[in-house]
Symmetry: C3
Subunit: 201 residues, 3 copies
């Protein structure tokens, strides 16, 4: 298994896991747990692909990820309390930050490949990174957390996306640009989390 | 009028009717009543078609259904209390179960026709069957009922969709497969409703 | 700058402004304020284009509007209380009515250009006019205001759209039809607002 595949799976699992937790907190049943986990893991990329009119969707090509979440929902649902104790918050935040970086930059890439103008591409990257959680919160009947807690999350993605776009403009090697921008986003997210930085309102 | 046309209209009317009731319960006005009824009746199929990139949408080809719901919203809105007394809960549940069966299997069919892998096709069937109600509940600012009441509904659709897929794999006549799977879903839904079965959480 | 361009920008700004206010009322941070403003300004047209499968989206072609809202979110967020005092409610309602008229008729036009049947085209016009606000309210975790306050808003758009369609059918000059229908919608909205007319429930 390549490194990128491993990170991808980790990021999807983290998305699904945050969906599990939120769905259980709302006392949802198995159907709800699976659906919310699925929406959290794939919602951002799906919305981006609908806006860009890209098909087939990511989870359609890789149905193994959908099956994985389905099996996990069956297994994890009764174990969720135990799981939350085994998996520390630190681990979740780290994996989530890695996912945010990777998915955001991948979103920008996809938008550029679809000939989007650059500001729109930077937004598509943010949408890919954060809208899984936004849709999760809408389905769970909450005001989306990323819009109200004042912690830099979308903004880390936004800044890293522009780093990626600038490196592209100045002819930096695409692979290096992608990895370093993703790393920048993940790192920035982890630093702001570590020091509990807030944006003013 | 053919039988399938009749069932289709019944299923749409039942969807719209559940939208009427929910919209009135939320004290919505005429615009809200029509919109929520429309979303409940066509939301599942519309989301499936957007995910599959199929156009034109069902209600665009059959604008008579949209007009029907529009007229009903005008007429039914003042009569909703009377209507709820005339139409027994039993009748609603039966018509809804018939609609769930028919629409779920039709959703699987549409997904297979669009070359989806089979697990995705089974999910598209469930989406077609249940997301009208999910979108209704989101617009009405509720946690979707199908995710939280623990009654087998999406699961009946899911099992029936796999019956349909298995029959397809083993070369059963497509028409027979479609009708018997739809019947299986409707029957399973009615049996679990009759005996008030619940899933564990 | 042509008149239509000026009205378009005004309408988008009014949409964004109502998003700002609602997002602040919900105590959202900068990311929330921008996103909700953006969804309010472009949500209706985006949903219409997704339903019609039209690409590229309006705000993708005109990324300057997205940038404008971004800059305004940065600037306006701390000034929102002052802004609400400077900008009178009357001015907001007038600009919003102008936007409703213009966008609704433009939505019908787009739907006709995509060969939609006429009832569907009239609905697409209403969707274009009102769904920005509907999506704003869903993200802000409210029952959409346009569905519950009983004030004629969607209905003004609906009637004007039919005026536009009828004029098209009877061979009226398209430009005249568009402008007079948009004016009709805006005027009707302002009259019903002025006299505080309500629909029965």
């Amino acid at each position: 298994m390549t490194l990128i595949k491993f990170i991808e799976i980790m990021a999807i699992l983290v998305g699904a896991f945050s969906g599990f937790i939120e769905a259980r907190r709302k006392r949802m049943d198995l159907v709800g747990v699976f659906t919310v986990a699925f929406i959290t893991a794939f919602g951002g990329g799906t919305l981006r692909d609908i806006l860009l009119d890209r098909r087939p969707l990511f989870w359609v090509i890789h149905q193994e990820y959908a099956i994985l979440i389905f099996v996990l929902a069956l297994v994890a649902s009764p174990l969720i309390r135990t799981l939350r104790q085994i998996v520390s918050e630190r681990l979740i935040v780290i994996a989530d930050a890695v996912g945010l970086g990777l998915f955001s930059v991948a979103g920008v890439s996809a938008a550029l490949a679809a000939d989007m103008p650059i500001f729109i591409a930077s937004m598509m990257g943010v949408i890919t990174g954060i809208f899984g959680g936004v849709l999760r919160d809408i389905v769970c009947n909450e005001v989306p957390m990323v819009f109200r807690d004042g912690k830099p999350y979308a903004i880390c993605a936004f800044l890293g996306n522009w780093l990626f776009l600038l490196m592209g403009k100045y002819g930096v090697d695409p692979d290096f640009a992608l990895w370093s921008s993703a790393l920048f986003i993940s790192g920035l997210r982890l630093i702001t989390w570590k020091f509990d930085l807030r944006m003013g309102r």
